[in-house]
Amino acid sequence: MLVEWMMNGHAILYTGVTLAFWSTILVVGICYTIFDLGFRFDVAWFLTETSPFMWANLGIGLAISLSVVGAAWGIYITGSSIIGGGVKAPRIKTKNLVSIIFCEAVAIYGIIMAIVISNMAENFSGTTPETIGARNYQAGYSMFGAGLTVGFSNLFCGICVGIVGSGAALADAQNANLFVKILIVEIFGSAIGLFGVIVAILQTSKVKMGD
C-alpha cells in the first residue's frame, strides 16, 4: 500500500525536492564544521548586508497576497456550498451572502495593511550598515514582520470563515432556524483576522524609514 501511495506523482516530486534540499543543507553544514569554517556562517552579516528595502517589500507583498489567498479559499468553499444548496432551497442565497462578505473583509484587511505599510517605505542614502543606521533596519524588519502577521492571520481566518460559512449554508438549507446561531461562530472566526490587523499596526507604529 505504501508503494501504491508512493506511485502518486505528487508524492514522488515533493519527497524528492525535500530530500535534495535538506541533504544539500546537511552536506554543506558538515563540510563547514569539519573544515572549521563555521565562522563563515554569519547570520548577522546576512541580516545587515541585505537591504531593508527587500524586507519591507516582502512584507508588503506577503500582506496582500496571503490575505487574498485566505479570502479566495474561503469564498471558494462557501460559494460552492451556497450554490449547491441553493439548487434545492433557493431561499438561502440572499441570507448566506453575509458569509461571503466576512471572507471578503479579510482581503480588505490585507489590502489596507499593504497600503499602510507601503506608505512607510522611504528612501535613505546609506549604503553600508553604519550609514544605513539602526532605525532603517528596524523599519525594514518591522514591515516584514507586520506583513507576515497580517498575511498569515488573514489566511487562516479566511479559511476558517469559509468552512464555517459552508456549514452554515447547508444547515440553513435544511432548517432555517439554524442560520442565526451559526453566524455567531462565524463572527468569532472573523475576529481573529482583526487581531492580526491590530498587531500589525502596533508593529509598524514606530517605523520611521529615511535619513
Binding site: F39, W45, F46, E49, T50, S51, M54, L58
Partner: protein
C-alpha cells in the same frame, strides 16, 4: 558505397575550403576609410561609389585615383592621419542626432560643398598605404610634407602638379587629450588648409585617409560586442576608457607579481631555554600605493618596489608584537616629498564571547610623516579568526572602501591608500608561511542572497498553487459512457 565515400570526401573538402577562406579573409579584414573631394568649381567624371560593405582593393583604389587625377586638378592635398577607422566617424561625428557635438564640421562642409565628393568607407589595409606612392606616380612629383603655416607661404600654380601632405596625429593612451579632442584639432587644421587654398583660389583635389586603422575603435567595438553588445557606442566610450586604464593598471600589477616572499617581522623569543628568532608578523601584497591630494590632483607613489621583491629588505624599525597587539611599521625614505615616511599596520586580537573564539582585527592603518599622523580605521571589515590570516583582493580607502579616515578632520582625508592582493597575519604565525587565508569575499554576495530568498519564496508559492490546481477533478459521478449522449437541440 563509392558514391557515399565520394559524398563524404566532397563535404569534408568543402568545409575545409570554407574554413580556409574564412581564415584567409580573417587576416586582412582591416580597413581604412578614404575621402576624396575637389574644390568648388572643378568637377570630376562621376564615379560610382562602392556598394555598402564592399572593401575596396588596391586595384580599385588605383582606378579611382587614376580617374580623379586624369581629368582633375593637378594640386593634391593629402591629409594623412596616423590612424582612422569608420567607427571614429560614427562615434564622434554626431551621428546619433547630436550634430552639434560633431568633431568633423569642416570636413562635412567640404564634402557637402564639393561638386564631386567620393567616400570610400573601407579600403583594405595595408594596401591603402600605397596611396602616396600611387599619387606620386600619377602626378610625377615628390610629396611635400607641410602644415597650415607653411602652406600660407607657398605659392601654388594650377598648371604645375603638387602633392602636399599634411600629417595629422591620432595619439591614444595619453590621458591628456581624448580622441575626440584630437580629431577636432585635426578638423580645425583641415579647415584652415582649405580656407588658405580658397584664398589662393587654386583648384585642388583633397584626400583624407590614414596610415593604419585605429585599433582603439576596433578593440572597443569588439569588447562591447563581446560584453553582450548592442549598446550605444556613445554610451560605452567613457566607461571603456576607465576600464582600459583599470586593465592597464592591473596588467602592470600582475607583471610585477613575480614570485617573492612576504615581509616578515621577526622577534627574539625564549623557546625551550634558547633564544630563537620567530616570525611574528607576515605581510604580502602585489601592490601597495599611497596618494595625496595636492592642489586638486592626486599624486601617487607606488611603495611596492621598496617593500617586496628579490633582495628587497624593508626597514621595520618600531614594529612590535605580543599576545594581544601587533604593530608592523614599514619605514620608507623620500615618499611624495617627505623624507621619513612610515606605513603602520596596527592589529589586535581578543576573545569574543558570542562566537566563542578569538578574532583579530586591523584596528588602524596609519601614515606617519613629518610629525603628522593620518589614521585609517580598518576594524570594520578587516578581521579574521586569530588562527588564520586575512586576505583580500583589494583593500583601499576610496574604491569600495574598507579603510575609513578616523574622523572628518583627520589628515587621512587627504590621503588615499590602496593595497592589491593583500594578505596579512599578525598572530599565531607558525614557521614562515601564512596560515589558512580567510578571504574577504564570501561565497554568496548579499545580492545573491536577496535574490535567492525572493526566488525561493516565489517558487514555494508556485509549488503550492500548482499542487492545488493539479488536484482539481471534474465531477464524474454521473458519467455514463454507455448512456445516450446529451443533445442540445437548436429549436425549442
Amino acid at each position: 558505397m563509392a558514391t557515399r565515400k565520394m559524398r563524404l570526401f566532397s563535404s569534408i573538402s568543402a568545409s575545409f575550403a570554407v574554413l580556409f577562406t574564412l581564415l584567409n579573409t580573417g587576416r586582412c579584414d582591416e580597413q581604412v576609410p578614404l575621402m576624396l573631394w575637389t574644390s568648388e568649381g572643378t568637377s570630376l567624371p562621376s564615379q560610382s561609389p562602392p556598394a555598402a560593405g564592399h572593401i575596396v582593393g588596391r586595384d580599385q583604389l588605383d582606378a579611382y585615383l587614376h580617374t580623379a587625377l586624369g581629368s582633375g586638378p593637378r594640386n593634391v592635398l593629402l591629409f594623412l592621419q596616423d590612424k582612422m577607422s569608420i567607427e571614429d566617424f560614427t562615434i564622434y561625428g554626431g551621428a546619433f542626432g547630436n550634430k552639434q557635438d560633431s568633431a568633423f564640421r569642416n570636413l562635412e562642409g567640404a564634402l557637402l560643398s564639393s561638386p564631386s565628393p567620393l567616400v570610400l568607407p573601407a579600403v583594405s589595409w595595408p594596401g591603402s598605404n600605397a596611396v602616396i606612392g600611387a599619387l606620386q606616380d600619377q602626378l610625377e612629383t615628390s610629396p611635400l610634407y607641410m602644415d597650415a603655416e607653411t602652406l600660407g607661404q607657398l605659392r601654388l600654380n594650377s598648371s604645375s602638379p603638387a602633392l602636399l601632405v599634411f600629417r595629422l596625429p591620432y595619439g591614444t593612451g595619453s590621458d591628456l587629450m581624448s580622441a575626440k579632442e584630437i580629431l577636432s584639432g585635426n578638423d580645425e587644421v583641415i579647415g584652415q588648409v582649405l580656407s588658405i587654398m580658397k584664398t589662393q583660389s587654386v583648384p585642388y583635389l583633397a584626400i583624407y585617409t590614414a596610415l593604419q586603422p585605429s585599433q582603439e575603435a576596433a578593440a572597443a567595438l569588439s569588447l562591447e560586442v563581446g560584453a553582450g553588445g548592442g549598446r550605444s557606442l556613445l554610451q560605452a566610450r567613457a566607461s571603456h576608457k576607465e576600464r582600459e586604464q583599470e586593465r592597464e593598471r592591473k596588467r602592470k600589477v600582475k607583471e610585477k607579481a613575480g614570485v617573492y616572499g612576504p615581509v616578515e617581522f621577526k622577534k627574539m623569543e625564549l623557546y625551550q631555554s634558547k633564544e630563537r628568532e620567530n616570525t611574528c608578523i607576515l605581510l604580502w601584497a602585489t601592490g601597495l600605493s599611497v596618494s595625496i591630494l595636492r592642489g586638486g590632483r592626486w599624486d601617487d607613489h607606488d611603495l611596492t618596489p621598496s617593500t617586496f621583491g628579490e633582495g628587497v629588505t624593508p626597514k621595520l624599525h618600531g614594529s612590535m608584537c605580543d599576545q594581544t597587539k601587533a604593530r608592523l611599521v614599514l619605514n620608507y625614505e623620500d615618499v611624495l616629498g617627505h623624507r621619513n615616511f612610515k606605513l603602520i599596520f596596527a592589529m589586535s586580537q581578543r576573545h569574543y564571547s558570542v562566537s566563542a573564539r578569538r578574532w583579530f582585527t586591523m584596528d588602524q592603518v596609519e601614515l606617519e610623516y613629518d610629525g603628522t599622523k593620518a589614521t585609517f580605521n580598518g576594524s570594520r571589515s578587516i578581521y579574521a579568526p586569530a588562527e588564520y590570516s586575512y586576505r583580500c583582493d583589494a583593500v583601499s580607502s576610496f574604491r569600495w572602501p574598507s579603510l575609513f579616515p578616523r574622523s572628518a578632520k583627520d589628515p587621512a582625508n587627504q590621503w588615499r591608500v590602496s593595497f592589491e592582493d593583500f594578505q596579512i597575519q599578525g598572530f599565531n604565525v607558525s614557521g614562515q608561511d601564512f596560515s589558512y587565508a580567510s578571504d574577504c569575499a564570501g561565497f554568496f554576495t548579499p545580492g545573491i542572497w536577496m535574490g535567492l530568498m525572493s526566488s525561493l519564496l516565489m517558487v514555494l508559492v508556485l509549488t503550492y498553487g500548482l499542487h492545488m490546481i493539479m488536484q482539481l477533478r471534474t465531477m464524474d459521478r454521473f458519467d455514463d459512457p454507455k448512456g445516450p449522449a446529451i443533445s442540445v437541440p437548436l429549436t425549442e
